[in-house]
């Protein structure tokens, strides 16, 4: 009697195994590569959008301060902006606060003076100084010495502000760029392609 070999439980030949292992390896390698690429793309895209949000935030911070600023001055390299703002709120230590502590945290009533250049509204003899600057990967806002990081990214955020002083008005033009982490060569075009522009006018133009 000759036993009949069942094909359904037959093993693979060595050649079949080699072929299948090779194919499996290729498929697995492709899958892993795809996965890693997807993960990298996702991280890069996530980072890109996150940095874009920070671009918007830098612009929003700066424009808010420029609008209410008395004087705006930009540095020669355009990467540092100094603003003088009215002291609207009475702070602890201010003369009014020393005279009456109840006034801390309340808005000031402005005073009006006539100068050689016309009428001037002052909330306080002194002003608040705000400086925007770059420190490493962070954008800093320093108000009377108190530092706040308003944006931070490994994508090398770079704001550049130009202060334009005209006869009867003044404005600050700002652009913020960054270099996306997935760029291959760091080409200039890749940075400029991320540019976000904004212009804000001083509502309280004051010089001299």
């Amino acid at each position: 009697m000759k036993l009949k070999t069942s094909q359904s439980i037959a093993g693979f030949t060595l050649s079949e195994m080699l072929v299948s292992l090779s194919l499996s390896s290729i498929v697995l390698a492709a899958a892993i590569t795809c996965g890693i690429s997807l993960q990298k793309s996702f991280a890069a895209t996530d980072n890109y959008f996150s940095t874009q949000m920070q671009q918007i935030r830098i612009i929003d911070y700066l424009n808010r301060d420029v609008k209410r600023g008395l004087i705006v001055t930009t540095s020669v390299d355009l990467q540092s902006v100094t603003l003088n703002l009215p002291n609207y709120i009475i702070q602890a230590g201010d003369p009014e606060a020393i005279a009456d502590p109840e006034t801390i945290g309340t808005p000031r009533t402005p005073t009006v003076v006539y100068t050689a250049s016309g009428w001037q509204v002052n909330y306080s003899p002194s002003t608040t100084t705000v400086v925007y600057s770059i420190s490493g990967n962070s954008i800093l806002r320093t108000e009377n010495g108190v530092v706040t990081t308003i944006a931070s990214s490994t994508d090398q955020l770079v704001p550049a502000t130009t202060d334009v002083d005209l006869a009867n008005t003044e404005y600050a033009s700002t652009s913020v760029t960054f270099s996306p982490i997935f760029t291959s060569s760091g080409a200039v075009a890749e940075r400029t392609g991320t540019s976000l522009y904004a212009t804000a006018y001083l509502r309280n133009k004051r010089r001299g």
Partner: protein, 502 residues
């Protein structure tokens, strides 16, 4: 013999498929979560933050329009607003497809030396935050840094400003005020300052002809010393800059300029003819402006004095009290005869038994003409310490030497021509100096609807605003730069902007 297939092999396939779906779902969900967060921030939160400022500034515009009405349309100014505690407030206004809301408060916080009110306008703008009701801000900058939440303060359940600082931001009345939907509110404060009329030596809303060929317009600043004719040709004099501000503004296309102008000349899209080389400053042909009709200011706060009611012959006025710029002694005159000779004396108060002269403020409203074309013309005299404003409904005709302002400061004697309500009526002001007289006056005229004529060659210190200007005499005109802060407000401008970022 038949060996059946093991079901566990089917199970492995199902498990693999489920795992794959799970992994793909996690990736998809993560992507979706990130997208939604960004969308939520950009489309809802950032947009609402920006729109709330737009709403606040709209509230500022609404209040500013009411402030302007106090000059241009006094009977309707703040007509639907509530006045309480020295401030006007309006009901919240909702507008736009995004249902932005704004409310405003305006209070006159300061009165200048002319009695003009300065208004502080505080407005609040609110924009609803649509989309997901969650804090999902993108503030991943560092372990201790929350950039967005410092910048954009969103009220999800309660108004944080009212809870922390009170409704007016002064620390009074803090309370937990629920909000119906998430919202962003921003608050700004504007200062509306009065625009006074005498910002140039001569301002003509229509045509301009003059001055005589030997005439000139120069300037000085009385706060730094009296007028000195030699300063304008001496660049080393520290007052030299102030001597070259005799500006002429014309809202017409053609300006016939003669004589010398130590200042600038502005026209509205036109050309300057004749002596353009005798203009020391710039010629700018792109400076349009408009002069609104002048309306009699509100007299509700003025101290009405019932007598006299007309100026006929020699008439002396000595007010019962000094008054103030905001609340002067007010006389209502039905006529001012051409032979009228009005003298306004300062009020005195007795201190320790000794009469002392006071700075005295007087306003006279003449409902008809001042003088006529016949006779020598009416005379007006004010000694030092008197600040006289004369309002007239009709025409004004006299000689330049009949206007006597002993103090020499033009701001102390101000004439206002009330614009005729009938547009077919042409108001006129004629100041004729006959016989070669060079005697002049120190005064200012704001007559935006009047044709203004000066004949002869008087020596004038002051400023004039009129419709059409004509002179053919050799006038010597000295504009006092301190006049740019003198006079009744003719409009308002916003000169200060502050945002309460708390």
């Amino acid at each position: 013999m038949r060996i059946s297939q093991r079901t566990s092999e089917c199970g492995n396939v199902l498990l693999c498929v489920l795992c794959t779906i799970l992994v793909v779902s996690i990736i998809g969900g993560n992507v979706l979560l990130n997208c939604m967060t960004r969308y939520n921030v950009v489309s809802s939160q950032v947009r609402s933050w920006k729109e709330s400022l737009d709403a606040a500034e709209t509230g500022g515009d609404i209040a500013y329009a009411e402030v302007r009405k106090t000059i241009l349309d006094p009977t309707h100014a703040f007509s639907s607003w509530t006045y309480s505690g020295g401030a006007y407030t309006n009901s919240p206004v909702t507008y736009g497809t995004d249902n932005l809301t704004t409310s405003s408060r305006a209070d006159p916080f300061y009165y200048d030396g002319n009695g003009n009110a300065w208004y502080r306008i505080r407005t609040k703008g609110t924009a609803p935050v649509l989309g997901l009701k969650r804090v999902g801000m993108d503030d991943r900058m560092g372990p201790n840094t929350r950039g967005d939440s410092l910048l954009r303060k969103i009220d999800f359940n309660y108004d944080h400003f009212v809870a922390t600082y009170g409704p007016n931001g002064d620390g009074i009345g803090q309370t937990l005020l629920p909000v119906s939907t998430p919202q962003v509110s921003r608050r700004i404060e504007l200062i509306a300052a009065p625009i006074t009329p005498f910002e140039a030596a001569i301002k003509a809303g229509g045509t301009f002809y003059g001055l005589g060929s030997a005439a000139y317009i120069d300037s000085f600043r009385s706060s730094t010393g009296p007028y000195d004719a030699s300063v304008k040709t001496n660049p080393s004099d520290p007052r030299y800059a102030d001597s070259h501000a005799g500006t002429v503004q014309i809202d017409a296309s053609v300006a016939t300029i003669m004589g010398y102008i130590y200042g600038n000349v502005y026209t509205n899209g036109g050309t300057v003819t004749k002596n353009t080389t005798s203009i020391s400053g710039i010629i700018d042909n792109n400076v349009p402006f408009s002069l609104s009709p002048f309306i009699m200011p509100s007299t509700s706060l003025w101290n009405f004095v019932s007598s006299p009611t007309a100026v006929t012959g020699s008439t002396n006025i000595t007010p019962p009290a000094p008054g103030t710029a905001e609340s002067p002694n007010y006389y209502l005159m039905t006529s001012f005869a051409t032979n009228g000779n009005l003298t306004v004396n300062p009020a005195t108060t007795v201190v320790n038994g000794v009469p002392q002269v006071q700075e005295t403020y007087v306003a006279i409203h003449v409902t008809g003409d001042i003088g006529t074309s016949s006779g020598s013309g009416p005379m007006i005299t004010i000694p030092a310490h008197v600040h006289l404003d004369v309002y007239f409904d009709g025409n004004f005709q006299t000689k330049a030497e009949n206007i006597i302002n002993t103090s020499g400061y033009a701001g102390n004697l101000q004439f206002y021509g009330i614009s005729p309500t009938d547009p077919s009526v042409q108001q006129t002001v004629n100041l004729n100096s006959g016989g070669g007289s060079t005697a002049g006056f120190s005064a200012v005229f704001y007559t935006p609807s009047a044709n203004f004529t000066i004949n002869g060659g008087p020596d004038i210190t002051g400023a004039i605003v009129c419709k059409n200007f004509y002179t053919n005499g050799n006038v010597h005109w000295h504009y006092d730069r301190t006049l740019d802060s003198e006079g009744n407000a003719v409009d308002y401008r916003v000169i200060s902007y502050v945002e309460d970022i708390r």
